[in-house]
Amino acid sequence: MPASSMSRQELLLPVRPGFILVTLIIGLLINFLPWSGWALWVRPDFVALIVLYWCIEEPRKLGFFAAWCLGLLMDVSEGSLLGQHALAYCILVYIGIALHRRVQRFSMAPQVMHVILLLLFIDLVTLLVRTLGGAEFPGYTYFLGSFTGAALWPVLSHLLKLPQRPRPDPDRV
């Protein structure tokens, strides 16, 4: 592996569980905003992104049960089939946990490529479930959200790391 695609390992403080909860609630709130028109198509699933982030960064903190419950919340609020998001998030958690050592070592660009593929994969799973349920293909714009989601990954990853960065020690000059 070339050294350029490796990230510089940072030493971070352990994350507080309360902070994870807060970020998930913020993700839900952003998803619940009254999006409409083209924004609705471009909008990534923020909850999925945040769930994926925590699975990769802190694979022991966020379990399947939490992801499954979040999925049910999304299903009810979106009026979709009950269990559709729940299934997608569980798969996301599994792949996140399985790949976390690998993805953590990469620098930002390869990480984003991983995220695009993962989000597209759960889009496909959802599409499959809905097609089995008798829905019609909603058009290729359906996949746009995954790309914007992956594009937001660097920003998200920077923001979510901020509280874990150790404060500069005032005694050291």
Partner: protein
Amino acid sequence: MEHTPPPLFRTGSTPLARLMIFSMLSAVVLIADARFNHLQTLRQVVAVVVYPLQKLAAAPDAIGSRISDFFVTHSALRHDNQQLTERNLELSRSAQLTEALRKENIHLRGLLGARTRVAAPTMAAEIIYAARDPFSRKVMIDQGLQGGIEAGRPVIDHIGVIGQVTRVYPWLSEVTLITDKGHLVPVLNVRTGLRAVLSGTGDDGKLELRFIPLTADFLIGDQLVTSGIDGVYPPGLPVAEVTHVERNTEYLFASIACKPIAGVHAHAQVLVLGPLPVLPERPQDDAKDVPQKKRKRL
């Protein structure tokens, strides 16, 4: 038992096992919801949990519109006022006409011994947001069980039918629009009196009439209103206008496309109609006109 690991290394089931468990659970929930519609209570409970978050997320928009309401200019108000006055005059003229017709109708119906149609009570509601499921066409309105809404109530705006309440939560309800793929409305062609079933296509602004014989009399511009034979939509509400008729003799049926008349995706204020009076047994002569297959499948 010397081979069991010490407690430090016990990590529970592996991620793969958990994935299996939760996927099975999701599959059970999916099937129960899609095929058997068993999980209404679970939906209600989750909806109550989600409600405060939804309210919070909708707050910036609500505050924004309140602020912009406050700064409406004088000229805009005067313009609105003038328009409304004109419309009011127009409507009052047609209301007088309708009043006369209604009286006449009551009289004639009385003569016929038919049951008078009772005007269904209505309830105003506001569309809060469009449900974000890309596979269906649904909106959420701000009235629910607390407001006495039940599943199956028709929803209209000031122009015509927009859909039907399909799920009711404590403070919200979900309205399936007439453009949703699985949604059917029994309609009547105003010009010819032909009955048909109008179905959504999942495409905004496009509806289609299915199973219409090639020889049936449908022209571009024909107005379709609800026929009322399903006991869901009261008769006579405008639904759609025919936009495209294609008669290809290779197929059994004509392909007829329509567009909804009501602002299915445009208006924020809607009316939820009250329950229709329970239909009495059909009069003998009426029953002959209504073939079984044209009744709405619900």
